[in-house]
Amino acid sequence: MPTAVLLDSSLSMTRPVSVEGSEEFQRKNLAVHGLTMLFEHMATNYRLEFTSLVSFSSLWEVLVPFTRDYNTLQVVLVTDGALGIGRGSLRHSLQTVKQRVEDKKFPLPFPFPSKLYVMCIANAEELQATDSMDNLEQLINLNGGEGQIYTMEGPLCLKSVQSMFGKLIDQAYSPFHAVLRCGNLTSDVQVFPRPEPVTIDEEVDPMPRTVQTDLEIVGFIEIGDISSPPVLSRHLVLPIAVNKEGDEIGTGATDDTEEETSTNQMAGKSPNFCVLLHGSLKVEGMVALVQLGPDWFGMLYSQADSKKKSNLMMSLFEPGSEPLPWLGRISQLGPASDAAENPYGEDDSKSPFPIQPKHKRSYAQNVTVWIKASGLQTDVQKILRNARKLPEKTQTFYKELNRLRKAALAFGFWELLKSMAELLERECTLLSDSAHPDAAFQLSHAAQQLKLASSGDSKYAAYEHNITPMLTDFSGGGGAHRI
């Protein structure tokens, strides 16, 4: 989630903080100190986070803009909680929040998922003495309760501002470290952005699910088989080097300070499972199915950013036993070598995926719909067209005829069966002299069968019954035919 930092630069922020000792600080200095700490943390542990800095008083200025669009956002508001007076002040704005016109809506709630963190360069007592705290709490409430207010504990000094920003870092910017495992091959990784807990709406007992720190690969699937699955979120999986004390050395990127360079070079040169996995996934065009928790899975794959750069990426599926209909239940996926016959074929020409559903969908099974007159007319014309090409089209003629018959019976549309019979009888009278003699027999036979069905007589009106072509014998040479 990108972060927008809003720094209060109003006059009250220059109020001096009484510190026993030599130096005198303004609240502004404390804010800058805290933010520096936050930014330094991000630069080392959360380096891919996009951050923007805006300073405001009665006006505002974007000091560092985002370089891209956002879908979600974390907003860090740094203020001393002196809310100002009169028009345009927060106090006034909140009081008149309901009177605003459509095009001048209060900015909260934001039109995108967001978290609002308010960092007060003031302590709680100070804020509670006025209505500042209430107003700030109202801000969080307006944001749907997403966010938190942090205040300083004890005297306003560098130490307490550090401790306050430390809490924010723990809450919102702690990196997600995990172990990626494929049997006995493992790698320590950072997952970025860190996966947030997921709650499924439609659950009887909704519980937020968190990604476990042990990411276990369960097997592999071709990209064509997994077939652009829907995912909740995407994350980079960055291998990290962990030294003996368990401290992270870094992600091994090369743009570090000089003293870090040698350690990172070493990390770069020792084989890492992530790099091997990434390379093979890329070359083979496959994904690795990875378990994120009980009944929760995701996939690892190579994501190319450009021709040169590519990365190991992890996408999270919706929690549940069957996140993708075309894979079936994940717990039922097992090693292909356990199958009696290789499901991929000896020459890799087959695939067990996608799983076919038990019933075909309407568009895959030639259903009959006569809601519109044109649908009915098309079906009738289709039969007549084939009727005129008898006996060559005998099979299609009866197939279409039976389709119409079935639908008419189901819809209780017996009148149609009678009309169709009449149409076929008329076709019979319109046959030219050169017409094949079989045509006349088939037409009158079909017409008669439809009439019988339209009587509702269970012997002839059974749904599963099909009208079959009349057996005639014109090709036999004898000229005699069975009727």
Binding site: G219, T251, K309, W326, A336, D338, S374, G375, L423
Partner: protein, 663 residues
């Protein structure tokens, strides 16, 4: 999970008055000009109220089953002098084919039946009883939740298609439903297979013939009690009823409409020309979530032509198409159902997709910029509308994997791991497929990965045996859960083959990375190779007694440990003798294998070529194609001498490294 839409009971009136004509005429005799002379056209046909009700309700079910093949259940009830329940809540009963067959058996209403004993009330009572019956899904949920089973809700909807007499008649029907719910809930409280109804939506659709005044007034949804709400729709039969039910199915199941425009289609008459067509699809409305959130919902006209009042989002067909091996970032996939399933444009589109092709869809924007927002694709005969992420990603421009940990290593066994992945591909097993140890297929997959990786060096220069074709048969077998006697034999043959190679002093693909010159001497190479092979087999020795036999074979056949080698060097003569006695001792045992080793000679010749290839780097992790080999980084020059120990060959003793440096 168990919302009102989990259970839908259709109650269709089958009383004599439903046999009445809807009075919309359909011309089915379309005479062509050339044939029309002297022929009297057939009188047009018209559907009965019953036929209209049936086909519209079937259309409702068709769309429902297309979009929700599971979880959303229909119970179809027909009512006249008695109740005909055409199916159950069972999942296997949820398809239009079964319903059509059952409806054919019921047939149209009999106009001569005594109207006094016929009523839709029978059906409504049956519908309430049916809503109390537990579905498979509710049952499963209650069983898994155990002590919190009471959280499983029982809600449902009754859609009643009838021809009512008056508003008073409608009220009477509503009262009857309410009373029945109260009655049935009492009964249900004491039963395992029944559940009291917590919430029921009654949707009464009054159908009357065209040209008549309606006797029943429309009424918005109204709460009749805490359990029952009711709404009344008064609709003319025919296409009005069809569009009403189309609107209802969209409301009831949170559907939305998308119209695909600009679909290029070949003309039937002129095969070389093509025209553009539109096809309207229904799907879950979440497929439009991005548009709704961004306020960018583009309405092409405020109404769609086919579905009456509902709005539709227009998306444009895009060429070129996408291929299946491309992994799109997709945030949702929703099943679709075409509004006009039988029309030529619809079936052309659906057949195109069912044949395995995918289409990207573009969102027309006022600014004229092109944004691909969706994709249509079929999986296993089902068509899905995929939502593609069209906002810019927060993961743009990340560092390349080659810049991170392990990124500078260039001799990863990319091809071998690719082979490993193919061997560990997944496949679906039937639900009952649990092995003797009670493991599910996915657990077996994990345990296979564990076995296959017990000894798996990641880089080419860390291994000798995996660069040798001759070891492949053994390496493939030893990781298996169970070995047959034949497998053991194959492993032994592999070992004997290696012995043979050693006897002939065939060169081995020992890595020379980190050392100057040619690397270790031949006998040293074999010692390294044997040690590594032993490491591999030892990792599996606990699997079974047959695995143990493979290790025993290696221990018996492999070249001697270094101390002995040293002694040999000191006294060459004695060694010859020893060798002979050893040979004699083994003679009987080995005889059978000599022919085999003869046969394997040809194989080994080929291997020699491959071995020399193995010494070149197979792949670089960063290269897009395996062929695109990068020159190996000049590690030799950069690394201080002691770093060469970092090779960590399983058997690389100090002595070996020392010797390398002297050469």
């Amino acid at each position: 999970m168990f919302s009102v839409s989990h259970k839908t009971a259709f109650v269709v009136d089958h009383c004599p008055y439903m046999a009445e004509s809807c009075r919309q005429l359909i011309e089915c005799d379309m005479l062509t000009k050339s044939r029309s002379q002297g022929v009297i056209p057939l009188a047009p046909v018209s559907k009965s109220l019953w036929t209209c009700a049936i086909e519209c309700s079937m259309e409702y079910c068709r769309i429902l089953f297309d979009v929700y093949p599971t979880w959303k259940l229909v119970n179809y009830i027909v009512s006249d002098s008695e109740v005909h329940i055409l199916n159950s809540w069972k999942q296997e009963d949820q398809n239009t084919h079964e319903l059509m067959a059952a409806l054919a058996a019921v047939g149209p209403p009999n106009p001569r039946q005594d109207p006094e004993c016929c009523s839709v009330l029978h059906g409504l009572v049956a519908a309430v009883e049916s809503l109390c019956k537990i579905t498979e899904y509710q049952h499963e949920s209650r069983t898994t939740l155990m002590d919190t089973a009471d959280r499983v809700a029982n809600r449902g909807r009754i859609i009643c298609l009838t021809n009512a007499k008056s508003d008073t008649h409608v009220r009477m029907l509503e009262d009857c439903v309410l009373e029945t719910i109260q009655e049935q809930n009492k009964r249900a409280a004491g039963s395992d297979r029944l559940m009291p109804i917590q919430q029921c939506e009654l949707v009464l659709v009054h159908i009357y013939p065209q040209g008549e005044e309606t006797l029943v007034s429309d009424r918005q949804k109204k709460e009749l009690s805490s359990m029952l709400s009711s709404e009344v729709h008064s609709v003319r039969a025919g296409r009005y009823l069809a569009s009403k039910l189309n609107v209802l199915v969209q409301q009831h199941f949170d559907l939305a409409s998308t119209t695909i425009t600009n679909i290029p289609m070949k003309e039937e008459q002129h095969a070389n020309t093509s025209a553009n067509y539109d096809v309207e699809l229904l799907h879950h409305r979440d497929a439009h979530m991005e548009f709704i959130k961004s306020g960018d919902l583009h309405m092409a006209g405020s109404t769609s032509r086919d579905s009456g009042l509902k709005e539709t989002v227009t998306l444009k067909w895009c060429t070129p198409r996408t291929n299946s091996v491309e992994l799109h970032y997709c945030t949702g996939a929703y099943r679709i159902s075409p509004v006009d399933v039988n029309s030529r444009p619809s079936s052309c589109l659906t057949n195109f997709l069912l044949n395995g092709r995918s289409v990207l869809l573009e969102q027309p924007r006022k600014s004229g910029s092109k944004v691909i927002s969706h994709m249509l694709s079929s999986h296993g005969g089902e068509i899905f509308l995929h939502v593609l992420n069209s906002t810019r990603s927060t993961l743009e421009d990340p560092p390349s994997i080659s810049e991170g940990c392990g990124g500078r290593v260039t001799d990863y066994r990319i091809t071998d791991f690719g082979e490993f992945m193919r061997e560990n591909r997944l496949t679906p097993f039937p639900d009952s497929m649990i092995d003797a140890a009670g493991r599910t297929p996915v657990e077996r997959a994990k345990s296979q990965l564990e076995r296959y990786t017990r000894y798996w060096p990641m880089i080419i220069s860390q291994t000798t045996i995996f660069n040798m074709q001759a070891v492949v048969p053994l390496a493939n077998l030893i990781v298996k859960d169970t070995l047959t006697d034949e497998d053991v034999l194959t492993c032994q043959k592999t070992v004997y083959n290696l012995v043979d190679m050693e006897r002939k002093s065939d060169p081995l693909p020992i890595s020379t990375v980190g050392s100057r010159g040619k690397g270790p001497k031949r006998d040293e190479q074999y010692r390294i190779m044997w040690n590594e092979l032993e490491t591999l087999v030892k990792a599996h020795v606990g699997t079974s007694e047959r695995h143990q036999r493979v290790l025993e074979c290696i221990s018996a056949c492999r070249s001697k440990p270094p101390e002995e080698e040293e002694r040999k060097k000191r006294g060459r003569k004695r060694e010859d003798k020893e060798d002979k006695t050893e040979k004699n001792g083994k003679d009987t045992e080995e005889k059978g294998w000599t022919t085999d080793s003869e046969r394997l000679k040809g194989v080994m010749e080929r291997e020699k070529d491959e071995q020399s290839e193995c010494e070149i780097i197979k792949d670089s992790p960063d290269s897009p194609e395996p062929l695109n080999k990068k020159p190996r980084l000049a590690t030799e020059e950069q690394q201080p001498p002691e770093k060469s120990k970092g090779l960590a060959l399983p058997s690389a003793s100090e002595g070996v490294v020392e010797r390398n440096h002297h050469i």
